[in-house]
């Protein structure tokens, strides 16, 4: 089942798009593997991952049709 991944802030400069549809990944390790393969520049970036609007931890499972967000820190003011 497809997942939607949304990129925020400067991450969109590294991926060239603000969203991407992916085949299902069951956990964050798998998800990062897929994302880093498609967008290698993401490897050098800091970000927090949210699954369906909730911050995920390394053990979080990804439900079907989940909306994933990759959120980097912002510093400007």
């Amino acid at each position: 089942m497809a997942l939607e991944v949304q990129f925020f802030g400067q991450l969109t400069d590294k991926t060239g798009k603000s969203t991407v549809q992916l085949n299902h990944a069951t956990n964050l390790i798998q998800l990062k593997e897929i994302l880093f393969k498609e967008f290698p520049l993401l490897k050098e970036s800091k970000f927090v991952i949210a699954i369906n609007n909730k911050m995920a931890t390394d053990t979080s499972e990804i439900p079907e049709h989940a909306v994933i967000a990759l959120m980097p820190p912002f510093s400007g003011g």
């Binding site: 949304q6 925020f8 802030g9 400067q10 050098e44 970036s45 800091k46 927090v48 949210a50 609007n53 909730k54 911050m55 931890t57 390394d58 967000a69 959120m71 980097p72 820190p73 912002f74 510093s75 400007g76 003011g77």
Partner: protein
């Protein structure tokens, strides 16, 4: 308490709001808020907190006003170029509302400053523009148990959060989101990435509103969540924060450890 006619008239439009009233106004008048950074975020925050009548307002900024600040730092004009931001902002804010006591701090927010000045205020507002100061402010607020209203921008997007406020038995801080600061070359600043003045204006006003909600208790506070606003798409995204397993490990947990930490080095 008997209030002067001027006080009632000045705040009349907010006092008559349903669920606000004289009680909320009294809380605002008694509140002490420290705003760190009088730049793109700080200018609108300060103007609205002065307008609403916060009792004591601290303004911290060591920088001088430059021409390239004027597209977003709306307290300042051409004639202010070269002057200190905290002092100049204070002069303008006093003219706006002389019922508010304003303390300018024309200095950099370092550990000594945080430990000496933060305890004098009820709420700390992060309106800075760099990670070194943001992590320093966050860590100080956790140690001193001070509510922190955070705001930051990146090109056409902005983030807002309220840290160290207990909601549903839990409270979080910036290190729960990002336990370790990014390196300085990893994230663009406003001077590198650019910024349109309206964006920090909107984010600063969201911060000012959260300060007012925190003081008065009205509405639902943005605690335990990170809000991201995208100006180009006009979209808001909210993320529920959970405890990061590396948050505690990376944060100084004693005043001594905090004082010894080199934040500039950490973020470079």
């Amino acid at each position: 308490m008997e209030k002067s006619k001027e006080y009632i008239l000045r705040y009349q439009r907010q006092i008559i709001l349903n669920g606000f009233g004289i009680e909320a106004q009294e809380k605002i008048t008694s509140a002490k808020v420290l705003v760190i950074g009088a730049g793109g975020l700080g200018c609108p925050i300060l103007q609205y907190l002065v307008a609403v009548g916060v009792g004591v307002l601290g303004v911290v900024d060591n920088d001088q006003i430059t021409l390239s600040n004027l597209n977003r730092q709306i307290l300042f004009g051409q004639e202010d170029i070269g002057k200190n931001k905290a002092i100049t902002a204070t002069q303008k804010l006093i003219a706006q509302n002389n019922l508010v006591k304003i303390n300018p701090y024309a200095q950099h927010c370092n550990q000594t400053f945080a430990l000496e000045i933060f305890p004098k205020y009820d709420i700390i507002v992060d309106a800075t523009d760099n990670f070194a100061t943001r992590y320093l402010i966050n860590d100080a607020c956790v140690l001193l148990k001070k509510p922190l209203v955070f705001g930051a921008v990146s090109q056409f997007e902005g983030q807002v959060a309220v840290f160290n406020v207990i909601k549903n038995g839990q409270s979080f801080n910036y290190r729960d989101l990002f336990p370790v600061p990014p390196k300085s070359n990893e994230v663009l600043s406003c001077s590198e990435g650019g910024v349109l003045g309206v964006l920090p204006g909107i984010i600063g006003m969201l911060q000012a509103m959260e300060v007012i909600k925190l003081i008065t208790g009205i509405g639902a506070l943005l605690a335990n969540e990170l809000l991201t606003y995208n100006a180009l798409r006009l979209e808001y995204y909210k993320m529920q924060i959970v405890q990061h397993p590396k948050s505690e490990k990376n944060r100084p947990t004693t005043l001594e450890a905090f004082t010894k930490l080199n934040y500039e080095w950490l973020c470079n």
